[in-house]
Symmetry: C2
Subunit: 352 residues, 2 copies
Amino acid sequence: MIDNPYYSHEFHGDYDLVSVGRLDLEEGGSIPDCQLAIATFGTLNEAKDNAILVTTWYSGSHQIFRDVYIGPDHALNPDKYFIVVINQIGGGLSTSPHNAAGANADIGMSRFPCIRIGDDVVAQERLLREHFGIETLQLVVGGSMGAQQTYEWMVRFPGKVRRAAPIAGTAQNTPHDFLYTKALVEAIISDPGFKDGEYSSNADVIDGLKRHAGIWAVMGFSTEFWKQEVWRALQFESKEAFMEGFLEPYFTAMDPNDLLCMAWKWQHGDVARHTGGDLAAALGRNEATTRILPINEDMFFPVRDHETEQALTPKSELRVIDDVLGHLGLFGVAPTYIGQVDQHLNELLATS
Amino acid sequence: MIDNPYYSHEFHGDYDLVSVGRLDLEEGGSIPDCQLAIATFGTLNEAKDNAILVTTWYSGSHQIFRDVYIGPDHALNPDKYFIVVINQIGGGLSTSPHNAAGANADIGMSRFPCIRIGDDVVAQERLLREHFGIETLQLVVGGSMGAQQTYEWMVRFPGKVRRAAPIAGTAQNTPHDFLYTKALVEAIISDPGFKDGEYSSNADVIDGLKRHAGIWAVMGFSTEFWKQEVWRALQFESKEAFMEGFLEPYFTAMDPNDLLCMAWKWQHGDVARHTGGDLAAALGRNEATTRILPINEDMFFPVRDHETEQALTPKSELRVIDDVLGHLGLFGVAPTYIGQVDQHLNELLATS
């Protein structure tokens, strides 16, 4: 276990840790005491039928949803819905390699087992049902790896999801994404300070984490983001200052093993494993009214990959978000971004 | 100096080393005895006005032009033209960090000076004039870094270039490309075996060179290349086999310092340094009839970046090459690729 102050209330505000008990894992092994960090907004009604689940992305937490996506002026309106953001396993706030202790002491650091998107979704369903008594969801929504979890909900628990909105992510990870994630992983594990996952502090792996940030810079934003110097809107004076003041500190604060846990999960995301590799059969299970929301400038979850899956998904429609930031448009930096998301989610939530 | 068998006639066939003497460099310092490796095809006519110059890309040599682009059935027809392919400085065949010896012994390995695209073009012009007596070129053509050199010819020696065809490359390197190249560089220099450029063999840096290949896999091909498993056309059975059997051996055979020399040059390519940063003024110098040839699936030299520069280039027209391989379509793997290039070059060569 490592004490990393980034994963704390100081940096992430209010959240609660809820145990779902022992979680047996798809790839074998288990998490003896799986704790999920959740943040809730609004009030669960008596019928317990006004809940929305928000899932998190690689390196993300509930924080960005609280700050950008959720509020009385947004589609994710806590005056109307009970919104539960569940931080993914391995993300640093929920049970993760760096914080495994107590009952989880045997799976700390390099011994943490491989986690699947499906493991997260099983744990989430259990939490919602056992902790809140929620049996159906008005909406499941998430971006990137959160979209992977959204698709997993659609395929695994079709009766429980009334509406779904995967943003900038796919049901079946693409080979290009696999290679991209591989490059991210190698940037970290090649750092001599990584010591096969048994470093004593994330600071030991700072060079690898910076290279990891450098690869995110190439793929996470669009070519046009850099050309138009959109980082100026964030009050930086050069792309170097933006890297040193934003993207590098963002990732170097994080735990390497936690990032690697998420990276493996991302690489292996595939709803078709439920149907013997038949993606059409898997997506065909969907019963939720669905809006599939790619970002037009996304370099690694391109629009056409969403189009392919949309064509296989019943009750779904495609709505393309225009954002020069590309994939990391998910951060909501562009003033025009959240309005588009709100419009699409409002339209979706207005369906019966 | 390192004896690397990859940079030899065994791997690259026929070529000649021609010295252009001492080359003073834009960034300061000089190459005491600058030798350029050239391969020629066809015969220079008496008027010495039937010459075509072909420039080379990052990690490339004359070999790919000999095997794919040049021949009696191609636009680059040695029955009609005298075609000179000049390997770039730092590329491993011409004077480069790994082979600097004799008069160049003081600039070997990590002591090799920074080379600009302009240094290459000055050396090329000198070689063509002094060695062959060539004063004007029917065509300058090259891809990627070869396109950078082509633009440099257009801006630096406008009276000498009758026609020009930059393929999949820009006159002014983009910030995104700078960051992409930075990630490539860091994959190499972070390898402990690199030893600040004083390794004893490229094999010492094999892990870094493999990571470098892994990042090329993400950006060099298109997302659709991987999704459609286009590597099957090259007789591989999996993307892993393609990496291990093609892209990794391709780069691990090369010299790290040579790659870094080219990477720095690529990063700093900018014809606007001739005009105080005014790109329009620089490109406005062009007198050559020009075809600008982006590849539609290129991830890091996207079509729109070519469009921007085309609009600033007199006598130029844009022709987009369709190739799912993306940037590395330049290798000519797709059977439909070279036909498109030939069509555009034939059209160009038919202009008066």
